[in-house]
């Protein structure tokens, strides 16, 4: 790194750190929903990426409608879109649980196959409805551009927005899962379905709502994602494996683990990318994860339990 002034290096350091944090928030936002569905319920939802795409398409749809009919509302539509994305994806998730998942709780490998089928159907549905072309909603001006604390440092506004949104959602999930009575029911149900049923918890309802919540969060991730990339019918498939790695690496049942794991994966990937090519950075990151998981199959942060 010869030939650069220390202030230049500092600036790069700061921005590189933010690039990692930005990737972290994307990974975490996507993994949170999966951590609930996979970690808490034990369902392998291969269609998780498609629920994310549902959120992204909802955002796109709202932006188009707003642009055409309520141009004055453009600066604010995005906030509405996030909420809408949540509910659309959650509703789809609710439906999927009812039609599909609930029959398969005892057969985790089969949920994997069935949800893969679901993902194919959803992809083709997106293609039939929105076309094969990648779409990208028009963003409000306040999401564009960057914050410049010094001459050399540019922190993208959309990255900061996604980060803030991630923190908000994470906080919400924590509250819901660990502080609310509903969270207690979810945790009780996932730990002992029969017993929970016996003490009067409507386990079917809990399952359905939990699944819907996970999908809803995926939808929010999709909405947030439109600020940095485009949406196509197969967008979801690009992230599903990474997302699973985050959850598995963190230790499936641990939300804190998911956060730590998203952070370490994002920073590793982003720092490696600065020095070696993108493909090799990805190969190294994934390979390291696989090797670590081989030595510690229960994930980094799983608590030791009696088996």
């Amino acid at each position: 790194m010869g030939g650069y002034t220390s202030s230049e290096l500092m600036a790069i350091f700061a921005m590189q750190g933010f690039a990692g944090i930005s990737l972290f928030s994307v990974l975490l936002l996507m993994a949170l929903g999966l951590a609930i569905i996979f970690g808490q319920m034990g369902v392998i939802n291969m269609a998780h990426g498609e629920f994310m795409a549902a959120g992204a398409y909802t955002t796109y749809l709202l932006s188009t409608v707003t642009e055409t009919y309520f141009p004055g509302f453009m600066p604010y539509y995005f906030l509405v879109a996030i909420v809408a994305a949540f509910f659309v994806a959650a509703a789809l998730g609710y439906l999927a649980e009812w039609a599909l998942i609930r029959h398969l709780y005892k057969r985790p490998l089969d949920t994997l196959l069935a949800t893969w089928g679901l993902s194919l159907i959803m992809q083709q549905a997106y293609r039939s409805i929105f076309g094969a072309r990648e779409v990208s909603p028009a963003l409000p001006d306040w999401l564009m551009g960057s914050y410049q604390p010094t001459d050399m440092i540019d922190i993208p506004l959309n990255g900061m927005f996604v980060l803030a949104l991630t923190l908000l959602i994470t906080g919400g999930v924590f509250y819901l899962m660990f502080k609310s009575s509903w969270g207690l029911k979810v945790r009780a149900t996932t730990q002992n379905r029969v017993m929970s049923g016996a003490v009067g918890i409507n386990t079917k309802k809990v399952d359905r709502l939990t699944f819907a919540l996970g999908c809803g969060i995926a939808g929010v991730a999709g909405a947030a994602f439109t600020t940095i990339a485009s949406t196509g019918p197969t967008t979801g498939t690009l992230y599903i494996v990474d997302t699973f790695m985050v959850v598995v690496f963190g230790g499936a049942a641990s939300l804190l683990g998911t956060i730590a794991s998203a952070f370490s994966i994002a920073q590793a990937q982003s720092i490696l990318e600065f020095f070696i090519s993108g493909s090799m950075a990805k190969v190294f990151t994934l390979l390291t994860l696989v090797v670590i998981l081989m030595f510690k199959p229960e994930g980094l942060f799983a608590s030791k339990v009696r088996r």
Binding site: S303, K304, V305, R306, R307
Partner: protein, 249 residues
């Protein structure tokens, strides 16, 4: 820590296991003689099943030693422990429901245990005779071709015992062998246990005190991971600590 060799079939010394700080078994010392049928009783959560898990290698101990015929078991993996001569029956009958009684016993037959051994395994007269012999012992010789899923609950328990017997273990560990059995089946099981304890050591976990009285040579009461009392049935039943634990709950 090295413990001295003994004449006991099984010598458990200073055995401790903790799960995230919770000591399920705490500094346990425990010995088992040849030809002894030993029953472990105790309230729920006393650590009975955990002790069996530790001996057969399902759970790894935090510290302490388990010696089986002077062979240290704590470092061995499960299949090595089995091959050393320890058999274990699980609480709920653990048999292969999709296979017939004959096949269940055949799969447990101690030959062709390696990958290639199993590929080349031949069902010869020796195997068939042994299976027949065991089937008679567990009272299932008339049902050899029945699929195991169709057996009654008691018969499943027997089948699992038979799957252990066919390996001729020196130590047989049974976790609640009469749970869910009819009165008649209990009697038959008691008879079976008395018969098979000849020539080997048997360690039984049981709740049913009547059954315990029928079979036990020696009884140990476990409470919160520790031994509360040990001795013959009468002594144990009269022990005030035992009465306190059982009635205090």
């Amino acid at each position: 820590m090295m413990s001295a060799n003994t004449d006991f079939t099984l010598a458990v010394e200073e055995l401790t296991v903790s799960f995230d700080g919770f000591k399920a078994v705490d500094n346990l010392n425990f010995y088992l003689d040849k030809n002894e049928l030993h029953v472990v009783i105790g309230p729920n959560g006393a650590g009975k099943t955990t002790v069996l898990d530790l001996i057969c290698g399902k759970t790894k101990s935090t510290s302490g030693s388990i010696k089986f015929m002077n062979k240290e078991l704590t470092k061995l993996s499960e299949h090595e422990i089995v091959r050393a001569g320890v058999g274990r029956k699980f609480q709920t009958p653990s048999i292969y429901e999709n296979l017939t009684v004959f096949e269940n016993l055949e799969v447990s037959y101690p030959r062709g245990r390696g990958v290639f051994g199993s590929l080349m395994f031949k069902r010869d007269a020796e195997v068939e005779n042994k299976i027949l012999e065991i089937a008679k012992e567990i009272m299932l010789d008339h049902m050899l071709e029945t699929e195991a899923a169709l057996l009654s609950h008691g018969q499943k328990q027997w089948l699992e015992i038979g799957m252990l017997l066919i390996q001729d273990p020196q130590l047989l560990m049974l976790d609640e062998p009469v749970a869910g059995m009819s009165v008649k089946e209990r009697e038959q099981t008691a008879e079976l246990l008395n018969k098979i304890s000849a020539g080997r050591s048997v360690l039984v976990i049981e709740h049913d005190m009547e059954f315990v009285a029928q079979i036990a040579h020696k009884v140990t009461v476990l409470h919160q991971g520790k031994i509360l009392a040990s001795g013959d049935m009468d002594t144990v039943q009269k022990d005030p600590k035992v009465i306190e634990v059982y009635l205090g709950h």
